[in-house]
């Protein structure tokens, strides 16, 4: 439980940092390292690093002054319904998958190494 919380917090912070710097495609990397080091179960690691990665991305987006208005304009340009919600959901889904799969990968490698 302690490892889970630790993984969540650390991954959220690292994801936030990567997002702010514009390297969100690398979200899987810290998640994989955490999944490897903290010996989480792969499924747990997937959800913990995935959700914390998405949280880090969400915070970085909301830190931008016109983010939601920009999201709404993006949706209008793309013809997506629901205002800023649609691009925001797509962004968070990509972050969740990227980070979560990375976390699961780390955890699986850790188990393989231990076996």
């Amino acid at each position: 439980m302690r490892n889970t919380l630790l993984a969540f917090i650390i991954n959220a912070i690292l994801s936030l940092a990567l997002s702010l710097l514009g390297y969100w495609e690398l979200l899987f990397a810290p998640a994989a390292i955490l999944g490897f080091l903290l010996h989480l179960r792969p499924r747990t690691s997937l959800w913990v690093t995935g959700s914390s990665g998405a949280l880090g991305v969400l915070i970085s987006i909301l830190a931008l002054p016109y983010a939601l208005q920009n999201g709404e304009i993006t949706a209008l340009i793309m013809g997506l319904p629901g205002g800023a919600a649609a691009p925001l959901l797509i962004t968070l889904l990509l972050a969740l998958l990227n980070s979560g799969i990375g976390g699961a990968l780390g955890a699986i490698i850790a188990r393989l190494a231990a076996s």
């Binding site: 997002s19 495609e25 304009i73 997506l80 699961a104």
Partner: protein
């Protein structure tokens, strides 16, 4: 344990594959979209989330340093839609204008350039190929380059263009990622540097929208299918109805003296065919040419490009174009003695606007008005000495020819006695997502090829196919101090001939339609001409005979795209103009104000907001007379009551306006559609597309509405009211009643059975359409007064065309000049400056163009001792 390890390995493989898939999804472009990983990147300023608008209203001082030259610059962004720049160096003025244009309108600049140069499909994909092919055929880039090559590199015009371009590129180069327009982030497009040639390419786009036509293609079918008597009755070469020409013989007899080419033309006959060309093949070639124009030409549809993107992507990218529906301007000697000028060009009303307001101040210049992004200076406006405005003169400057070809001379055409190979230009169009496609443009001595059907080749000659520097005209206007300097600058204006209204501080006022008017020696220019040489342009109307009026004894002059000259003008200048109803109303208003001694700024402003449709003066009395004798329902009787009490004003609360609008359209249709059908005019031949074939603008443009006015008033028993399809004998009263009953049926179904609730504003709206065709970014619709025949014009039921700029100035006191355009400075939808002038524009209010409270420099040349 072994099974568990195997399971882990499988999970590992699945995870790796999953991660690869996620990364592929993030970094693979989907259709024309940028990769999601780039587009949605949450990093500061990188993706869409981090976009930031440019600065809002306020003034700032700065120093501009370029190549060791230094200049002081004051920039004020004001909430009236104007960017104000003052500098102690004129090079810095244009540098700053370019920089700020890019800062507030970069996406518009890039899209206009891409459209003009036939590169839209490189930004928005395959759906724009047809548009790109069209503009490649117009040789926009080639002509722009030729214009640039001919430009004197030591001229002031070149200098202004040079620094404007430097300014645009300085912004592009220094632009932070957060300022990249969101639409570019979505499309994955990186802005590329601007060039002087690009300015001329955009100029070509504008001049085409003002002067391009394919009328002669479709009119050939009228000449072919109809007997001469029908052509003479339906399509007289001079309008039959009440007209106030802009340059009547009475106001300037000098231009009517001497020989011209009109007497040698045959305006009611089919032209001979070149040897070897059969009529069926010619018809197919013309149909193909019409499809080429109508399918990709912005001047003939509501928008320049309006196609839903193909494939997966769910949004339609439309670049709303510059469609010119009409315009008004007039000049008058004010009751107080100064020269008044009013102008409202009716172009597309978009957000961002096609205009951008500027006040430009530097040594020797203080000009205020509106500018097309991409062009240095001010296009329409005033300076301390002169004011100017423009309406489209609509002369015919596009001529069509069918070339003589032969299987024995492949790739050649017969011209002036010899076989000449077509000049072939190989174009490569880069299509996003599809790679390159090759496109061939062919050119003959008398134009570019617009159709080739089984070696029947049709070419178009257009004055815009030759180098022309209209930018120089506007830059000259900006600094002109008197009529001589104005006319000297106007000599640069060649292609998109305008009725340039002029007023100055000496009390002079006039209208000038100078430019290149082609002259042919014989044949019928209203149709496709033989291309073997005898029917080519032999020159242009000499300047001394070109239409103008200066300081007329009437005390005013007006243009609203009506027929320019009186009967008897010796040259052929065209035949398809606006109906003249707006001009009739303007002349009536000006005469009344003159009699009342009320020619003033306020009465000119009231005129610009006039919503009385002059056509009601003509059609309403006979309609009401006919209705007295007709059997009508209770709904009809209520409608008649409304019409009989109506003053002809298209106010939003008027139900009579709604009834009249639909009735007039039915009346027009019921009269002419049977004849067009009878004479086998088909949709492929232009039925419903050209105003003279009942196109969507036929109630305000062209010949048919004027025929109808003439016959209704003067010849109500004309046989042209008969129905040739059924053989039914009819007269005007009969058709008017028929149209009235159709109107009642239609409106009852549409709006319910109570005519008093059929208010015009329920159906008639104004829409500020997104320039980029993104409907979610449009402003409106708003219930709107006016129609296509009112001075305050609003074309169609959802009007995206109208007074795109209103200017009223009394040159006795130019500091009091007023103006307004809809939208605002910025293309960024987040900014208040995207839409902060619309309310004023809708409500008919005006801004003082040089308001009080600005830094002192902006009153330079108005207040003695003030320096820029």
């Amino acid at each position: 344990m072994g099974k568990s390890r195997k399971s882990l390995i499988i999970e590992l493989m699945v995870s790796i594959i999953g991660l690869v898939i996620v990364l592929l999804v993030m970094y693979t472009p989907i259709s024309i979209l940028a990769p999601l990983g780039n587009m949605l990147n949450p990093g500061m300023g990188i993706g869409v989330w981090g976009s930031a608008p440019p600065p809002g209203i306020g003034c700032s001082n700065s120093t501009v340093i370029l190549n060791s030259s230094k200049a002081q610059v004051i920039v004020c962004i004001t909430s009236d839609g104007f960017i104000r720049i003052a500098s102690n160096e004129d090079w810095a003025l244009f540098y700053e204008q370019g920089y700020l244009t890019a800062e507030y309108r970069l996406a518009q600049l890039m899209f206009m350039r891409a459209m003009a140069e036939g590169n839209l499909s490189s930004i928005v994909g395959p759906s724009m190929i047809q548009s790109d092919e069209f503009y490649r055929t117009l040789e926009t880039t080639i002509t722009a380059q030729e214009t640039l090559n001919q430009l004197n590199k030591s001229s002031a015009v070149y200098r202004d263009l040079y620094y404007y371009t430097l300014g645009v590129n300085s912004y592009i180069k220094s632009m932070p990622a957060s300022r990249v327009p969101i639409v570019f982030k979505v499309l994955g497009y990186a802005p590329t540097p601007w060039s002087i040639r690009d300015t001329f390419a955009v100029q070509q786009l504008l001049t085409w929208s003002l002067s391009g036509t394919d009328d002669p293609l479709a009119f050939t079918f009228a000449l072919e299918n109809m007997p001469r008597q029908a052509i003479e009755s339906l399509y007289p070469a001079y309008p039959p109805s009440i007209q106030f020409p802009i340059y009547p013989r009475t106001l300037n007899p000098s231009i009517y003296i001497g020989p011209g080419n009109l007497v040698n033309l045959s305006l009611y006959s089919m032209n001979p065919l070149p040897p070897g060309i059969s009529l069926p093949l010619l018809n197919k070639a013309i149909e193909e040419a019409i499809a080429f124009f109508q399918g990709s030409d912005p001047a003939y549809s509501d928008s320049i490009v309006s196609k839903v993107l193909q494939g997966f992507n769910p949004f339609s990218h439309v670049v709303i174009g510059l469609t010119d529906a009409g315009s008004n301007n007039w000049v008058a000697n004010s009751t107080q003695g100064g020269a008044l000028l009013a102008n409202d060009p009716h172009l597309t009303t978009t957000v961002p606007s096609i205009w951008l307001g500027f006040q430009l101040v530097a040594p020797g210049i203080n000009v205020v008005g509106v500018d097309f992004p991409g062009t240095p200076g001010v296009i329409l406006g005033h300076n301390p000495y002169i004011a100017w405005g423009a309406t489209d003169a609509e002369p015919q400057v596009c001529y069509f020819y069918v070339e003589e070809t032969s299987p024995r001379h492949p790739g050649e055409y017969f011209h002036n006695g010899s076989w000449i190979p077509f000049t072939v230009i190989h174009e490569v169009i880069n299509v996003k997502g599809s790679g390159e496609i090759r496109y061939t443009v062919e050119r003959a001595a008398n134009g570019v090829v617009v159709s080739n059907y089984s070696n029947v080749v049709i070419v178009m000659d257009w004055t815009g196919l030759y180098p022309n520097d209209e930018v120089a005209a506007f830059l000259g206007f900006d600094t002109a101090k008197n009529l001589t300097e104005f006319l000297s600058s106007l000599s640069n204006f060649a292609v998109g001939i305008q009725n340039f209204a002029y007023a100055d501080d000496k009390g002079n006022f006039g209208i000038f339609a100078y430019g290149l008017y082609p002259v042919i020696a014989m044949g019928n220019p209203r149709a496709v001409l033989p291309g073997y040489g005898n029917y080519d342009w032999i020159g242009f109307i000499p300047r001394s005979k070109q239409p103008f009026v200066l300081n007329p004894y009437t005390g005013f002059a007006a243009s609203a795209n009506q027929v320019p000259v009186s009967p008897g003008y010796p040259y052929y200048v065209g035949w398809s103009y606006e109906s003249g109803f707006r001009a009739d109303e303007i002349n009536t208003d000006l005469s009344r104000f003159r009699e009342e001694g009320n020619l003033s700024m306020s009465s000119m402003e009231a005129m610009q907001l006039d919503i009385h449709d002059y056509s009601t003066n003509i059609f309403l009395p006979p309609l009401l007379s006919a209705l007295i004798h007709g059997n009508t329902s209770p709904v009809g009787r209520e409608a008649i009551k409304l019409l009989s009490e109506w003053n002809g004003n298209f106010s939003i609360n008027s139900s009579a306006a709604t009834i009249y609008y639909y009735w007039l359209n039915y009346y027009l249709n019921d009269t002419f559609l049977p004849w067009l059908t009878y004479y086998n005019i088909t949709p492929a031949e232009g039925l419903g597309q050209f105003s003279f074939f009942l196109g969507p603008d036929s109630d305000y443009h062209g010949q048919l509405i004027l025929d109808l006015a003439n016959w209704t008033v003067n010849y109500p028993d004309s046989p042209w009211f008969n129905d040739p399809l059924t053989g039914e004998a009819r007269n005007a009263d009969y058709v008017m009643l028929l149209a009235f009953n159709q109107t009642m049926n239609y409106l009852s179904k549409l709006l319910g059975p109570n005519p008093s609730t059929w208010m015009w504003g329920r159906l008639h709206k104004r829409l500020l359409a997104s320039f980029f065709g993104l409907s979610g970014l449009s402003i409106g619709p708003f219930p709107s007064p006016g129609d296509s025949n009112t001075i305050n014009a609003a074309y169609g039921l959802t009007a995206t065309l109208g007074p795109s700029w209103r200017l009223v100035v009394d040159m006795a006191n130019p500091l009091n000049a007023v103006g307004v355009y809809p939208g605002g400075i910025s293309e960024h939808p987040l900014m208040p400056l995207y839409n902060d002038t619309t309310a004023y524009w809708l409500l008919g209010k005006y801004y003082t163009l040089i308001p009080t409270g600005l830094p002192e420099a902006f009153y330079y040349l108005y207040i003695p001792g003030v320096k820029p």
